[in-house]
Symmetry: C2
Subunit: 590 residues, 2 copies
């Protein structure tokens, strides 16, 4: 129905007859002539109707915003002085000779051609209108190009796209599982997968060697943290490759993506141990664009009178750390410093000690701070340790290590953002050498990643000292965002049993939950590992979107509802009867 | 960990050292030497260990079937007389110098290296072993290549891959919907999509112009007919293209697939109206490889005494048709003819009348049949109408048209299969000009496709005579299989309302079920249409698989269970409580 897309037109088409289809983006009447901006997914072209072409002119006169029309006309230069250098097609216009109105349109609930502030609820309810806006369409387009680049990269590296089931096994205690009642197996349920983890491992046991899938995953969790009940993951698994080979492959993929989509050369990705990342940045996903670092001063303040420092400095699980903000005394007002004190409170810090470095040559006298008097004998050593210079502000955290890391880690990011301290646009890296386990609140060890992650040590070493064991896991971090992560998996049955034992999973429970995996490990499981990227997150980074809902065609709200289709909804009791379930009345007893 | 895949080795690698990883496919000891067939996804290589390399030899001696091993050695010619021309790598072998056992394997529950008949239940329970068999892996590989070709074709035609939701709106009476209880919206449910139909139409309204997705679809139905609860569809939708442009694009896609995967040139696809297909083949998905056709003889037997013919011939909804099997008298025994009589009974036919044409020159005397005496005055005209020749058998169907079509249509296929009458390997085609509606059992009209299919006539014509209206739908048929189908959709609100009215859907119900679509139609909906291919079906055709379970990595059984992971399963009552549902006790009252 069209000869060209609107956005294609330029001076090379002068005097050609073209037929365009699209939406009336804007209409202006000027000097007895009608100007229509015609929009399709490719761009906008200006079409002019003058009264000489009476029929077309009369029809054009009826066109309102968002009418769907087909226009035929001849491309010509825009008259001098009306060229629009901001538009791709700004040098030309189409002199319309024929017009067909393919569909009319009611006045949209919000204007598309102006960047009006529209409430997100209205945008989601009329998503099909919201997506017509070029900036929204652009995000869908980047997403489509991105998946295409990913697929091509992986397929040219012999990865096979294999679909794994969406209706999978419901595991007891799968607290965040979406459940699907089975009609044929009364009283039983499927679960939607939180990830294809077990299936991709089974594919390795099947000899597939290199698997990938752009996979839908599901998690029924509170959606505060800008998450979606269904999200998409680039899921990758390989056999006979070690962690370095897998990281190299994944790096190559992300480099390709940035080169193709943004023309950015990411180069090599530095690798940093988990321990170093926590120590220097208070985070296992440090944003390396920000040139601020935490410095441990526990050893310097062990004997201080100041209990706030002394306590954590002498506690194996405590930490005392400093964060130097160069030139901070000039960058921050007292009010701002106080606000940062409130900010770290969000992360559990009881306060934010600070020292303004006025003049180091005056020793302690040259330091301005409410706390200096409490650490008089230690403070100059601290200044030296952090490399303080005149004009700096030094912030301090002293608490359980977790609190210090979270509080100063977050403060570091916040200072970087607020003061635009970034030293580069993109800072990719790997975090490696994670601990196998972390302390759960009940005192049991829990896996830092998942229970199939291989340790970097032998079965014996793991048994003897599980708290110290490191895993063969790796996370790819970009600008402080975890882009993806993975690990070498356990491929030997005895190792898997030991890990289950450490996690407090007894044989019966292991059999019940993962029996099929344990069985598969018996029959010749190859060494294997892989990783997964969060696709939505990656699109957000590439497009600069500030919400996951901007990069998904039909997203759900924070309460997991679709405002467009009004899902979820009620269903017939007959349907429930067939599924052998019934609704529980609020507050009903078991 | 490897330098090459096993299957890559050939004489160009002679004297090179290679490292291979894989599974011990078979082991033989011969003349003091150990032969291991090493298998990976690429093929099988023979590795030889002799006692000269003592360490490797001793390890090799421990290797059993399905052990996972890494082998290093030098490629050499196989000794004369031991070359195996049936293997890709049959001219060479690797003289192993080092071997590492990466994992052991228990004796598998079935042998992989022999084509043993193994029960499907066992194969499904140990799917990871079943998939190790080269013929199973090959199917996964064809599937991955197929999706890759499809994506490249569509993307090079400007189609954008866009994901639509899996957690969608549950519609009242969505009888075959899988339901997902919502935790945040108590008492409400999502449904898994039976197809992305409404979302892809909404994307057209959003101006996406060309959309595709390889989409998971879900249908909770009885699985007799070799179906799966989750299946995959190549989903396509475009704006501003008419049915001929869409069919051309889809044809190009399937031609490309067959060329790339099988080296088969499919050429152009003939188009046939639904009416012609039913008349000539008794089916809306005729297998054109079989050179047999139905011939209408209603007009010839209207006045016959024979009530079996006369009744249907004079009934507007009846049909009397003949199917000529050339040379049938020599091809079929009397027993076989009787068996075909039973066969058509499956389709509701009360019997299968037949005439053996012994000698046409003798007139009625030359015909052998139980029915000839009942249609003596008509039978020679019938013989002429069907083009009978000596030696033929003519079969007859006389009943309601639906029964005749199904019975003779099926008989036609059955004869083609049983007697190998195929005139070609691949016979693609389009069926077009479908009726808009069909009679439902309750007397109401129901849509032949779905209620968004555009009619080929005006609103007025549709209102006046809905039974006669044709739709703008099209089905792609290959070898009697419906590969895909689609239609131009209704893009105007008034037309959609008329169709709903004809279907007996009142305004309230339309609003309740499809309110968001009706609303979207108001705001400038472009003319659009599309189609969907069944991916699983296409892989079956391409690989010659005889069950959909052969072309899905982790399929479910006919009762919709996964024997590998034991899904569906029971869940904690705590989980159900959180979802505000409870199990209904068998036979409990509401």
């Amino acid at each position: 129905m069209r000869s060209h897309y609107c956005g294609e037109l330029n001076t090379s088409f002068i005097d050609q007859e073209v037929t365009l289809c699209g939406w009336a983006h804007r209409r202006r009447d000027h000097g007895g002539v009608i100007f229509l901006d015609l929009r399709d997914r490719n761009g906008i072209a200006q079409v002019v109707f003058d009264p000489d072409t009476q029929d077309a002119f009369n029809l054009a006169d009826k066109v309102r915003n968002e009418y769907v029309i087909q226009v035929t006309g001849r491309v010509r230069h825009r008259p001098e002085g009306t060229v629009n250098p901001e538009m791709k097609t700004g040098e030309v216009e189409v002199l319309g000779s024929a017009l067909e109105i393919l569909n009319t349109a009611a006045t949209p609930p919000f204007q598309l051609d102006e960047h009006v502030q529209v409430g997100e609820d209205i945008r989601l309810k009329y998503r099909y209108l919201d997506l017509r806006r070029p900036e929204m369409f652009e995000k869908l387009q980047v997403r489509a190009k991105l998946t295409s680049i990913i697929r091509q990269y992986l397929e040219s590296n012999d990865f096979m796209d294999i679909e794994t089931p969406i209706l999978t096994r419901a595991t007891p205690e799968g607290a965040r599982d979406y459940l699907v009642p089975s009609r044929t197996h009364s009283g039983e349920f499927f679960a939607l997968p939180q990830s294809p983890q077990l299936f991709k491992q089974l594919l390795m046991m099947a000899g597939v060697d290199r698997y990938y899938q752009i996979a839908k995953c599901f998690r029924d969790e509170d959606l505060r943290a800008d998450r979606q009940p269904e999200f998409t993951q680039v899921d990758i698994e390989t056999s006979f490759m070690d962690e370095y080979a897998i990281m190299g492959m994944a790096e190559g993929l992300v480099r390709q993506v940035f080169d193709d989509l943004l023309g950015v050369q990411l180069g090599e990705f530095p690798r940093m141990t988990y321990r170093e990342a926590m120590q220097r940045f208070g985070s296992d996903k440090p944003d390396l664009r920000i040139p601020l670092e935490l410095v441990d001063i526990d050893h310097l303040v062990k004997d201080a009178e100041f209990k706030v420092f002394k306590g954590p400095a002498n506690d194996a699980k405590g930490r005392v750390a400093a964060l130097r903000l160069p030139n901070g005394a000039n960058l921050l007002t007292r009010k701002q410093i106080d606000d940062y004190g409130k900010f770290v409170g969000i992360y559990g810090a009881k306060g934010l000690a600070w020292i303004k470095v006025n003049d180091l040559s005056q020793g302690v006298e040259g330091l301005q701070s409410p706390i200096v008097k409490h650490i008089e004998s230690q403070v100059m050593a601290v200044m030296e340790a952090v490399g303080a210079e005149n004009g700096d502000i030094i912030f301090f955290g002293a608490d359980r290590a977790r609190v210090v890391n979270e509080a100063l880690g977050a403060l570091r990011i916040k200072l970087g953002e607020d003061l635009s301290l970034y030293t580069s646009d993109w800072a990719p890296m790997w975090v490696v050498d994670f601990p196998m386990f972390e302390d759960a609140s009940e005192g049991n060890l829990t896996p830092l990643h998942h229970p199939f992650t291989a340790p970097a040590c032998s079965v014996e070493a793991l048994k003897q000292n599980p708290e110290e064991a490191l895993s063969r896991a790796y996370d790819m971090v970009l600008n402080g965002c975890e882009l993806g992560g993975g690990s070498i998996r356990i491929h030997q049955q005895d190792m898997q049993q030991v890990v289950f034992t450490i996690l407090g999973i007894d044989e019966a429970e292991a059999e019940e939950k993962f029996g099929f995996l344990l069985s598969a490990l018996k029959y010749g499981c190859p060494p294997h590992g892989g990783l997964a990227f969060g696709l939505d997150r990656l699109v957000m980074l590439l497009t600069g979107a500030n919400s996951i809902r901007e990069v998904i065609a039909f997203p759900k709200t924070q309460s997991a509802a679709c405002l467009l289709t009004d899902a979820p909804g009620e269903v017939d009791s007959k349907q429930l009867r067939e599924l052998n379930i019934r609704l529980r009345k609020p507050n009903a007893a078991e």
